[in-house]
């Protein structure tokens, strides 16, 4: 029997027999509150620990209350979701959670995006009757990317699920037990000392302010207001597909031109585009790929734009350090070029230049701080703001984002092709590389630059792309759990791929850890819409292949020489180090 009959708050309905009470209630348009429950990415990752107990409901004939999130319906089940017993229990549970919570909402970064705060608002818990000893942890700020405030943690374990089940990074576990149990790294180690890749998926799923991106807002304001500094801002392609959401726009719209105006109004001296560097990355990466392909180099070649992914293999696949491309990420290439080529061109002392990135990512903060990424002798990138942070700065500055007039990027580091736009989505880097590689191999312009076979929403995809009668096998993974499977294939010698693109976040950078918060139930949909907006942006570009970017061509002519050449190696390539597993 695929369906069962149930009664829920006196509403009778039929639901699939595998449904949970929570799902059944949704069908009856009853919203049962949840905290720990989480479903991500079309149910492939579910946090069903049933630990917060906020979703308890009364089921006739059952001795105690049932957690709606993890109790399956049964035929003729009678459920009450807001009986006095249920509401009283929920209120007490909420008071218990709040009794071990700082309640400093006014100072909390998560305020307004906090599920615990929402619940407290719904329940008007009044005076808390169950105050007592509360956790007293020091706020953990060791890393450049993520701040942990365990005092705000409600032990929902969502972060643990995201870190272990989805990303297989494995840095978080329940540590200790009882009241003192925390979710954190082994030995309470600071995040900086662990194999955390700072993908920020944990931050995205945290229902409170326990996990936060580390803010770079203050130093950026300081730089902007420092008359001795020339402050450049670069914006990653995924930012433009999500920033509007911070200001109430429906997902699925790019806001490139308003964003440019907004950044200029904030006071940045030059508004450039990471997209420019994405085109540059394709020049280097596609050339490297062709080089490996034609000279019997290490295959498959893996992309290296994603800093979380880079750190992931440095910790967990130390035996495969020669597999990824040596290309720096677009963010870093941008910084390197800005502080050399562009500085020389304008005759500016590179030490005066402050490069600020706006990224959909938290790991980029960590990447910017990697010491070896300093080709000019200065750190390539100085500060990294997430999409959420730039929105916060705009609000702070009172900029009415939605009514801003259109603006244009500054040149030469602001011009980009469609191939750069699609860096934002999973499969995009691969597609952009193919656009160039195919034309270089065949010597002919492509009839269509759309490689539909590498697009899609699945976390792990593969395709064969025929170029000049030869089959190029590509694989695309987004989400590190998927990436791990490809790496294990390589390790076991079973991989038949030539090119593999990996992005740490599900869906690629559009689903990055620094993007606007989205209700997890809708995240899959939102990521799809952001991706569509990116493809539309690409389709609307006059030039869609990176190698055709005239400013890139000019850069090689004036400064770099050959792609994958000596100067390029010095400025645009890097190496990898094995790191401890902890």
């Amino acid at each position: 029997m695929p369906f069962v009959n149930i009664t829920i708050d006196d509403i009778r309905l039929q639901v699939p027999k595998d449904a949970t009470i929570l799902e059944a209630a949704q069908k009856a348009t009853i919203k049962i509150p949840t905290l720990c429950h989480l479903e991500l990415h079309n149910r492939q990752t579910v946090n069903q620990v049933a630990s917060c107990r906020i979703c308890v409901v009364e089921v006739d004939g059952r001795r105690n209350l049932a957690p709606a999130c993890s109790t399956k319906v049964a035929n003729n089940m009678v459920i009450r979701t807001h009986s006095p017993r249920v509401l009283k229990s929920r209120r007490v549970l909420l008071q218990l959670l709040l009794s071990n919570h700082p309640k400093d909402c006014l100072n909390c970064y998560a305020s307004g995006a906090c599920e615990l705060q929402d619940l407290a608002n719904q329940f008007h818990t009044d005076k808390n009757r169950f105050e007592g000893e509360s956790s007293n942890f020091a706020i953990e700020t060791s890393s450049a990317a993520i701040t942990r405030d365990l005092n705000k943690c409600i032990r929902c374990r969502r972060c643990e699920t995201a870190c272990n089940d989805m990303q297989t990074v494995g840095v978080l576990s329940g540590i200790g037990r009882g009241f003192n149990m925390v979710v954190g790294p082994a030995f309470h180690a600071p995040l900086q000392d662990t194999q955390c890749v700072f993908c920020g998926q944990c931050v995205k799923v945290c229902p409170t302010g326990a996990l936060m991106g580390k803010s770079h807002i203050d130093p950026v304001w300081d730089a902007i207001n420092n008359p001795d500094k020339i402050v450049l801002v670069q914006t990653a392609p995924a930012v433009r597909a999500a920033l509007g959401e911070e200001f109430g726009m429906e997902p699925g719209h790019t806001v490139t031109k308003q964003m440019v105006t907004a950044l200029r109004r904030l006071g940045f001296d030059y508004v450039f585009d990471t997209n420019f560097a994405a085109d540059l990355t394709i020049m280097e990466e596609a050339t490297e790929f062709l080089h490996r392909l034609q000279h019997g180099g290490r295959l498959p070649m893996l992309t290296s734009c994603c800093p979380a992914w880079v750190k992931f293999f440095e910790h967990q696949f130390q035996d495969l350090l020669d597999v990824p491309s040596t290309c720096k990420s677009p963010q870093e290439m941008f910084g390197a070029i800005a502080k050399t080529y562009w500085a020389q061109k304008l005759g500016i002392d590179p030490a005066k230049i402050v490069v600020v990135s706006v990224m959909p990512c938290l790991s980029k903060k960590y990447e910017a701080a990697r010491k070896e990424l300093s080709s000019s002798g200065l750190q390539d990138v100085d500060y990294v703001l997430s999409t959420r942070e730039i929105a916060r700065m705009l609000r702070e500055a009172g900029i009415d984002f939605l009514s801003l007039p259109a603006g244009e990027f500054d040149n030469p580091l602001g011009f980009s092709t469609g191939g750069a736009d699609i860096f934002a989505v999973s499969g995009g880097v691969c597609e952009a590389a193919l656009r160039m590689a195919a034309e270089v191999i065949t010597g002919q312009p492509l009839e269509t630059v759309d490689f539909e076979e590498v697009r899609g929403q699945r976390g792990l995809r593969h395709a064969g792309v025929e170029i000049a009668g030869k089959m190029v096998n590509v694989a695309i993974a987004s989400g590190l759990g998927n990436a791990r499977r490809l790496l294990e294939e390589i390790r076991s010698g079973k991989s038949s791929y030539h090119l593999i693109e990996i992005m740490a976040c599900p869906g690629g950078c559009v689903g990055g850890g620094g993007q606007p918060f989205v209700d997890s139930k809708h995240e899959f949909e939102v990521i799809r819409k952001r991706s569509e907006a990116i493809y539309a942006e690409d389709a609307g570009k006059e030039i869609r292949s990176s190698q055709k970017n005239p400013y890139i061509q000019q850069l090689y002519k004036e400064f770099l020489g050959e792609p994958y050449g000596e100067k390029a190696h010095q400025l645009l390539h890097t190496g990898y180090t094995g790191r401890e597993k902890l």
């Binding site: 630990s51 105690n64 957690p67 017993r85 218990l96 032990r155 329940g174 009241f179």
Partner: protein, 602 residues
């Protein structure tokens, strides 16, 4: 040890063991109880002394000296039991090495024991020993002892004579319920596991006896490990499992050791492993160690612990019978439950049902501890009253004071006041009193024990043992504990009692696992039966009680004057007395002595 290749081999061996002149009942037998309590009390020295004396007197071949498990008389350890041919067995308590030598001397001189100082037989009279039938009667490290007593015959029947369903039907018909606490019908559990999908199934014996004050499972494992192994193999046959695990506390080294020996011996004889008794049935057992987590007594936690994970519980359903160890159907029963299986199959469901009550057939082993004279194990028919157990078997309180309450079911149970001691003990009756049967731990508290402190103690235990997974247990129990702390320190507020009840009920109603759902029981039950003590604590704070004599009610009987240890009561016979408060030591002796209700405690 030779492998038993067929059932005939087993029968022949059992017969020869029974008839062997060396093992016959024709010889005097001396059993030395050598379980943990016995050994800690010096049983090893007693055994050595007896063995040496037997050598000296040339009796070594004429008397059988047996290293046995425990008979449950923990208060009298070391215990020695003497069995002369055709005479009733005699149990001696508090035996020293010297006394051991004397026994041998007497035996050498007279062929009998003169006037042995026996333990009161009444302790055994009211007991019915099913689970403990072999404890203290066989050498747990010798499989031959178990085989002589009919061991592994039920496994042979299950393998050769019965269909799996026959076994399950018998267990179902017997009405056996889980002895670990929940009281779930064992046969129903087995049936569900048998019907569960999947090729691979597991049998798990829960020997993570974590309730403080409960030690019957330890006693069974130390005294009769094969009865558990045989029952697990029978369960494997009935359910269709090929692998079993005994999850045992690391705190029980002797039990683990003896279990290990038993498994090795059973394997060597072909009673575990491939092709049991030459059949196609294969079943093997491994020991898994606990590592100090009370919550691992909860079956889902236990399963996660065997899997090598943190022992955090998960939501049921799915029940382990459906999806357990490594997602396969897993049948979890505790030691005592398994210990009942073989006798039920031997003697039939009707026999089992003839013992105990309608709803709770059979017996239950209780461990009596705390302020009780005869600390130890007692296996009694279900339905016996608490009174009978405490006084007829337990011998009353250890200090002669009246017994005030008992706590059953450990930290998950509740305190039962003396006014309810006439309650017959069954799963349902104890639940109705706000406690539970639990694993059978029974902590006795005599007059003078503070029930608020007891509740505080148990909550401390729960807070230490809470895994921290769910909100109500992690934070709620902590808050309960804090409120009790406050009350005991004299900082309680009147609304605290309502808070305890409210919070306790929400925790019961919403916690994820059995530990959390029962954690408030000690508080709620003491609040229910001893609310006055809480109120007194609130009123008095941490100040000791003050006693005052009401001059109107005092008849001047002088009884209080006599009992006061501080000599601070003044007054002449037949005249109202007074208490010199500055010298009072607040012991309450006068209060308890007064028969005229003339002394007020504030």
């Amino acid at each position: 040890m030779t492998r038993l290749a067929t059932r005939t081999d087993l029968n022949q061996l059992a017969d020869s063991l029974r008839q062997a002149p060396a093992a016959g009942a024709a010889k005097p037998q001396i059993f030395v109880g050598m379980s943990t309590c016995g050994l800690a009390s010096g049983a090893g020295k007693v055994y050595d002394a007896i063995a040496a004396a037997l050598q000296e007197k040339g009796l070594a071949d004429h008397v059988q000296l047996i290293k046995a498990g425990c008979v449950g008389l923990c208060f009298a350890e070391p215990t020695v039991e003497l069995q002369l041919p055709n005479q009733p067995i005699v149990t001696l308590g508090d035996v020293t090495a010297e006394r051991g030598r004397q026994l041998v001397d007497e035996l050498a001189a007279n062929g009998s024991f003169s006037n042995p100082l026996s333990v009161d037989n009444a302790i055994f009279k009211k007991q019915v020993r099913i689970a403990l039938r072999n404890c203290g009667r066989i050498d747990p490290e010798q499989i031959s002892d178990y085989l002589r007593n009919g061991g592994y015959q039920m496994l042979a029947k299950a393998v050769f004579d019965w269909q799996p369903q026959d076994v399950i039907d018998t267990i179902k018909a017997s009405g056996l319920r889980g002895r670990g606490g929940g009281g779930f019908p064992t046969g129903v559990k087995w049936q569900a596991a048998q019907g569960a999908a999947g090729e691979i199934k597991y049998i798990v014996c829960n020997a993570d006896e974590g309730d403080p004050g409960a030690f019957m499972d330890r006693s069974v494992l130390e005294g009769d490990p094969h009865c558990v192994l045989e029952a697990m193999a029978v369960a494997g046959r009935a359910i269709g499992a090929r692998r079993g695990f005994v999850y045992c506390r690391a705190e029980y080294p002797l039990a683990v050791k003896r279990l290990g020996i038993a498994i090795e011996q059973a394997r060597a004889m072909g009673l575990l492993g491939e092709k049991i008794l030459g059949s196609d049935f294969a079943f093997d057992i491994e020991i898994k160690y606990g590592a100090g987590a009370f919550v691992c007594g909860e079956e889902t936690s236990l399963i996660h612990s065997i899997e090598g994970k943190r022992g955090e519980p998960t939501v049921k359903p799915p029940f382990p019978a459906e999806r357990g160890l490594w997602d396969a159907s897993t049948t979890v029963n505790n030691v005592e439950t398994f210990a009942n299986i073989v006798p039920i199959l031997e003697k039939g469901a009707a026999w089992f049902r003839s013992i105990g009550t309608e709803k709770s057939p059979g017996t239950k082993v209780f461990s009596l501890a705390g302020d009780i004279k005869n600390v130890g194990l007692a296996e009694i028919p279900m339905g016996m009253t608490i009174q009978e157990l405490l006084y007829d078997i337990g011998g009353g309180s250890s200090d002669g004071k009246p017994i005030k309450a008992v706590q059953t079911g450990g930290p998950s149970g509740g305190c039962i006041p003396s006014i309810k001691f006439d309650t017959p003990m069954e799963y349902e009756t104890l639940t109705a009193l706000g406690s539970i049967m639990g694993s059978g731990g029974m902590i006795v508290m005599s007059e003078g024990t503070s029930m608020v402190k007891i509740a505080h103690f148990y909550l401390q235990f729960t807070c230490d043992e809470s895994c921290g997974k769910c909100t109500p247990c992690r934070i709620g129990c902590k808050r309960l504990h804090e409120i009790l702390d406050r009350i005991l320190k004299g900082e309680g507020k009147p609304e605290d009692l309502t808070k305890l009840e409210e919070l306790g009920n929400v925790i019961k109603d919403t916690a994820l696992c059995g530990l959390g759902q029962t954690a408030p029981n000690p508080v709620l039950s003491t609040l229910r039966w001893f609310r006055g003590e809480y109120e007194e604590c609130l009123k008095r704070g941490n100040r000791p009680p003050t006693y005052r004599i009401d001059p109107v009610k005092c008849v001047g009987c002088h009884a209080c004057f006599k009992v006061c240890p501080a000599n601070c009561i003044e007054g002449k016979v037949k005249q109202p007395h007074t208490i010199r408060q500055q010298d009072c030591v607040h012991c309450g002796a006068c209060f308890k002595t007064c028969k005229f209700d003339a002394i007020a405690r504030e």
